[in-house]
Symmetry: C2
């Protein structure tokens, strides 16, 4: 049968197969869009009301962008598809046998389930002690909290008289040399050495130390080694102290111990690893070391052709190698899963296995330096940054955001200024105080 | 003596008279700017790091603008004046005899003091019970909290089945018919009837009731009666239920009692009155019913020529009438006080009394209707809105903000969309409740 769901009545819609998507990150949202007006009924569940453009979260954490610039209401993105409804609620479990998604006061039955619940920071067993001291960067609240902590450090230092305490307040440690760590370190250096330069009377913000701590002998492990070396040069040029082969041993209120050495620091930011959301335990499926659910070639859970797992929640392998936890993988998986469900609903055709097409990887350092790895070609420097900028602005969902973000970048680039330098009085000062009190990982995470 | 402080060394600066300004609102910031590079040493103290453009706070509360669009770091505004330093701290008291401003771990001596600490909501003796249930709109956190509550109400209603509960969730009561109340009510109506239309599948957002409750027989008391009547027409046209002569008697988790009638409502917003900050008690001065400090013609505290009180903290009268608590009054007072201090430092000349020059008042309703009272001329409708827009954008401090804000307004005007529709999970759910009672679900009846 070929039906266009947009022309159906509520009653007719109710008779269609029900697809439930948990998580409206890159994977879940792509799947939902691709199922728009298809002959299925779709329910998208997310614990927040917005889709978050996570690759730019570090810009919010460093006051370059506002939360609204990198997020868009899920309902707004999907409003034109009458066969899709959106629910803002927290999923508490999945009844795999009974085919129900469980929430606090609600339970939804499904014919097809797409689990796209993302990932959160991996503190390698130290979450309880370390998360409150070294927040990660996964949600808007994380970003606001880190922004507050960074800006507040300078304000407190301005009032401080003890030079040792001032140096501690002006020392920022970023743990982890992946793209997020590199982007954070570069941005903090820019804030300290450029943005705030002329604004304080007692402290010299150029005294600020930004230290990037990486346990491995190199940064940006997913990129070719030559690019990693260039980025280390660029970071050093920006005033970031890059320490390789430096494993973190301890974190407390006044700093860290790394490679046996104590580094006093007020601000420690964690970007060292990710761990999949609890979906694996809900699904009772086999999971890998990062808690990602092992899926088959068609991204379904073994023994459950009606359950798809995608994005950071899934451990998918291609040619024997695991697929990286990046947005393009999740987006391609989301589109593939939608296509595969449509095929199964409309025909008896067996969907082909999922193949990830690698279109390249990119990262940025500071204000005008980017690296692009197209496999056959490496681009670095200003041109790389322009490409990074272009791709990120184009992929920003919600047209108005694009203009605003471009404008703000143009402004920041010309003036070194950052618009969103707000320390709010209550809201931002609380989440970091008792993080364990409230879940810090949004369902959609990437 | 005529000196330009910008050319002085730290040691020379230290010898200059010390002016301490408490509060970087419209009044305090104008005073600071006017004292830039004057032969005095200036310290600005504010408990936040940003100057807030309060007239647009209702736009943040209704998701039209982001917090960063209407705030700018105080340091950034004042960075070019070497004789001004900024302190982010909370003032706890003033030692009037010893001429010291007291903070938690800090005390500053002054030669001249400018108290510009503003005002907060006046719950007329019910603050303890009513503030948690009916938040006011004074800070960015207030605005974020109200935004969260409004947006969450629609999300919760979408999941609700009981029609009475749905109507309660979709009823929004604005208490107080002043400019803020009028602007809030109009903006909420636009959000419910335009912005969110077509995005929900179960509820009909046009069912939302927006009720403006005013105890007096008319709204916008500071404006001519004819303009008030026109605004009531416009509000009604926007779908706002305006109830005059309706005194609020009680507020609880499920609504209010007004003029003897119970109105079930999830969201109640308080704009009914303001009360000066505790400065009056610090200064041991005579205060009026709203807690504003009575000042002399030159805005000094009687018996203390070295202490100036301005803006919403001051009760200044002109031609027997009290000056209204609006931004233009505070700004003119700030500039006057700066001028008067410069005169007293540089000459023996006795400063002339303060005279407020009324350049007119304006307010806006919904998306394209404004009223302007120039005294000799009243302008209403689209032209009034354009004038309102122009004035507010021009007065936005921080140039980059202006472009962004204009762009967002243009966008919102053309599309009815509002960019900042974010419900964050932790931060925004806390300010309106005590941390320890912070609910997991942001949907809290407070």
């Amino acid at each position: 049968m070929k039906t266009n769901a947009s022309s159906l009545s509520k009653e007719q819609l109710a008779k269609l197969p029900h697809v439930v998507i948990i998580g409206a990150g890159f994977g879940g949202l792509q799947a939902a869009r691709a199922l728009g007006n298809a002959p299925v009924r779709v329910t998208v569940i997310d614990r927040t009301n917005h889709h978050l453009f996570q690759p730019l979260l570090y810009q919010v954490a460093t006051a370059g962008l506002s939360p609204a610039d990198i997020s868009v209401p899920i309902r707004h993105v999907l409003r034109k598809y009458k066969n899709i409804s959106v629910i803002m609620d927290e999923v508490t479990g999945i009844d795999v046998e009974g085919r129900h998604v469980l929430m606090d006061d609600l339970s939804l039955s499904y014919d097809y389930l797409i689990v796209a619940t993302g990932a959160h920071e991996n503190y390698f067993g130290h979450a309880k002690e370390w998360r409150p001291l070294a927040p990660g960067l996964k949600s808007l609240d994380d970003a606001r909290g880190i922004r507050r902590k960074i800006l507040q450090a300078f304000e407190t230092a301005e009032l401080e008289t003890d030079p040792e305490r001032i140096q501690e307040l002006l020392t920022f440690i970023v743990v982890g040399g992946g793209p997020t760590g590199v982007e954070m370190a570069g941005a903090i250096a820019e804030v300290a050495h450029k943005t705030l330069a002329s604004e304080f009377r007692h402290i010299d913000t150029s005294m600020a130390r930004i230290i990037l701590v990486e346990a491995l002998p190199r940064i940006l492990g997913t990129f070719p080694e030559s690019l990693g070396r260039k980025v280390v040069k660029e970071l050093t040029h920006l005033g970031v102290d890059v320490r390789l082969n430096t494993a973190l041993e301890a974190i407390d209120e006044h700093g860290v111990i790394a490679a046996g050495q104590r580094i006093p620091a007020h601000t420690v930011i964690w970007t060292a690893g990710v761990q999949a959301s609890p979906a694996g335990t809900w699904l009772q499926g086999e999971v890998d070391r990062a808690g990602r659910v092992k899926v088959q070639e068609d991204l379904t859970l073994p023994g459950h052709p009606e359950i798809y797992v995608i994005g950071d929640t899934a451990s998918a392998t291609q040619d024997g190698k695991p697929l990286p936890g990046v947005a393009p993988v999740a987006m391609q998986e989301g589109r593939y899963v939608a296509k595969s469900i449509k095929e199964r609903v409309q025909s008896t055709k067996q969907p082909a296995p999922f193949r990830y097409k690698n279109k390249g990887y990119m990262a940025t350092v500071g204000r005008a330096y980017g690296i692009v790895d197209l496999g056959f070609l490496h681009i670095t420097g200003f041109l790389g940054w322009i490409m990074w900028l272009g791709v990120h602005v184009v992929y920003l969902i919600g047209f108005s955001n694009r203009i605003i973000v471009m404008l703000q970048w143009a402004w920041a680039y010309l003036t070194f200024q950052r618009r969103a330098r707000i320390i709010t009085y209550v809201a931002d000062s609380l989440p970091l105080v008792k993080p364990e009190e409230a879940p810090r990982q949004p369902v959609q995470s990437r």
